[in-house]
């Protein structure tokens, strides 16, 4: 049985549902020694900002049980340098590139969206909204529905390109922020970014990471991100892209079944940069075993959905 792996995320058609996650594959080309990018669904590039950033002072990463914390500080070469130096090389590669971007003000977001929106090699733009809003006392853009609506709307007006909003898992009510992004014109929601986390070195009595707080990624994050992908995909009409701790075909299938149209692989690339091949093979094999001709038929295809309301845990 031939399995059709192609999926669509809104108007964006992907060869298969696997994308590389932002910040975990550089500007795409860095993966070429390991992966034929044209065999992937897509590649989300390292988060770009208008002026670029040198990032945070080291140490920037720390390993935790089943996960890792990073505080890279969104080091990037800036939108302009990206468009001049990197984009021309990407144009030759046959995959869907997604430009991840961020700002510190609504205006910075919109301007970055406008500039990136003009680049033909980009199939979509992904807004990283897990960033402090300096106009609003450092509250993250992604945790308040009103703030998120405003910044999403501004980007929406700035570009006709498909616009994905990458949600923070650190929202008490992910459905409220998801709906705000949808209402403001987002084409898809990426669920999720990293969880704010910390580690301390008891011997040195200091923070493991110079920035004190970083983002938790990897397998430890998966159950939380999956819950959010599920909640959000049930609450909005726009497609969801699952992210968080995906390292195996089984992990990816969980996100697709929960309701995601596609998924991204991040931290798992650090362990094995060729893991996307194994994940795709595993998905194909699963579809064959289960007699599923099209991967897109898996989206949200859970049984026992109707049953009962969700009650307390604990």
């Amino acid at each position: 049985m031939d399995v059709d792996l192609s999926v669509t995320v809104g108007t964006v058609r992907l060869r298969n549902p696997l994308l590389l996650a932002s910040g975990c594959c550089g500007y795409g080309l860095d993966m070429e020694p390991y992966l034929d990018l044209s065999r992937l669904g897509g590649v989300c590039l390292k988060g770009l900002s208008l002026k670029g950033s040198e990032g945070n002072p080291p140490p920037r990463i720390w390993e935790t049980r089943g996960g890792m914390i990073n505080a890279i500080g969104l080091q990037n070469i800036g939108v302009e340098a990206f468009l001049k130096e990197k984009a021309p090389l990407l144009r030759k590669v046959d995959t869907v590139f997604v430009a991840n971007f961020y700002g510190h003000t609504v205006e910075e977001y919109a301007e970055a969206a406008r500039l990136l929106g003009g680049e033909p090699c980009l199939g979509a733009l992904e807004m990283n909204v897990s960033c402090p809003n300096i106009q609003a006392g450092g509250i993250h853009f992604g945790t308040d529905p009103d703030v998120l609506h405003r910044v999403t709307e501004a980007c929406r007006k700035a570009t006709p390109k498909p616009l994905w909003v990458k949600l923070s898992p650190n929202a008490s009510d992910p459905v409220a922020v998801a709906r705000a992004a949808e209402a403001a014109g987002a084409d898809a929601l990426s669920c999720t970014n990293t969880l704010p986390a910390m580690a301390i070195d008891p011997e040195a009595r200091t923070f493991r990471i110079r920035n004190k707080v970083g983002g938790l990624s990897g397998p430890a994050l998966k159950p939380v991100a999956l819950r959010i992908a599920y909640q959000v995909s049930r609450a909005v009409k726009i497609p969801v892209v699952g992210i968080g701790g995906i390292a195996t075909a089984g992990d990816a299938l969980e996100f697709l079944l929960a309701g995601a149209s596609a998924f991204q692989v991040g931290t798992a690339l650090f362990v094995d940069p060729t893991c996307p091949y194994a994940i795709l093979d595993g998905i194909e094999d699963y579809c064959r075993r289960h007699g599923i001709p099209r991967v897109r038929d898996l989206r949200g295809a859970l049984r026992g959905e109707e049953e009962g309301e969700i009650r307390c845990s604990g």
């Binding site: 910040g23 975990c24 594959c25 550089g26 860095d30 993966m31 020694p33 390991y34 390292k46 040198e54 990032g55 002072p57 080291p58 140490p59 920037r60 990463i61 720390w62 390993e63 935790t64 049980r65 089943g66 996960g67 890792m68 990073n70 890279i72 080091q75 990897g218 397998p219 390292a247 931290t267 690339l269 650090f270 362990v271 094995d272 940069p273 060729t274």
Partner: protein, 254 residues
């Protein structure tokens, strides 16, 4: 390139140290390069561990590492037994550059010794003159003496407690003999590298191989950066990609 499975052929354990010989598909490397390594365990520990190449024989598919147990990852690597699997991605990173004419000083301490043993072997093969300085806390921490002997290298040894070789830091004999050298290659604890940098700057080109926590080891996570200054401009560079070997002058310790 991919994360490849290797089979442990031999693991010689001595105290906290283990000299691993593994067999599998080995791409030719240069001294100073490293592999990202893990055992057949699950998600804990999650990340691969960077290990310098101690030696290799690509034709016979052999690769050698020297590991010191300092935490959970290296504890498990040290405990590997013949027949078990080791997973490794590499060779990675920028190697030591070729030395200019003259005599090279190789200055190693602790787990900084393995890449210098590899370098020494290469230089000997090419007939390049070198002096190998090795510093250690005590005699038990002096590493790879057999490998060095095999390579025809008689190291200058220093131990902090005087239990083997000269008593004191390895930078003392280096300082005394600095004028003999047209290049200095160093790998070891940060204190040693700082001292080498201070000794060499403005006098002789030095190459320092650095350590940093690594997420990926191949340039994509930006987790391993070190502060450098080139042509008056400060910035961060990746230890795994622009390094691990850097010109001594560019490093800005933080």
């Amino acid at each position: 390139m991919a994360l490849r499975r290797y089979r442990v052929l031999e693991n010689l354990v001595a105290g906290p140290y283990a000299t691993l010989t593994v067999s599998g598909e080995v791409a030719p490397s240069s001294p100073g390069q490293f592999y990202m390594v893990r055992g057949d365990w699950g998600a804990d520990p999650l990340l691969n561990r960077p290990l310098s190449i101690l030696g290799e024989d690509p034709a016979r598919g052999l690769l050698r590492f020297l590991v010191k147990e300092v935490g959970e990852g290296t504890r498990r690597l040290r405990a590997l037994e013949a027949g078990e699997s080791l997973w490794a991605l590499g060779p990675l990173g920028r190697p030591f550059p070729d030395p200019p004419a003259g005599t090279a000083a190789l200055v190693g301490g602790g787990v900084g010794v393995p890449p210098l043993v590899y370098l020494a072997r290469r230089l000997q093969e090419r007939g390049h003159h070198l002096v190998f300085f090795q510093g250690a806390r005590t005699a038990c921490d002096v590493l790879a003496l057999e490998e060095l002997q095999e390579a025809g290298v008689a190291p200058v040894l220093c131990t902090e407690d005087g239990s083997l070789g000269e008593r004191g830091l390895v930078t003392a004999p280096l300082a005394r003999r600095l004028a003999e050298f047209s290049s200095v290659y160093a790998c070891g604890p940060e204190g040693m590298l700082k001292a080498v940098q201070a000794l060499c700057t403005g006098k002789v080109p030095s190459y320092l191989s650095l350590e940093a926590r690594m997420g990926c080891g191949y340039g994509v996570c930006l987790g391993c950066v070190v502060a450098v200054e080139r042509n008056g401009r400060r910035g961060y560079e990746r230890v795994c990609e622009e390094g691990p070997v850097f010109e001594g002058e560019v490093i800005r310790w933080t």
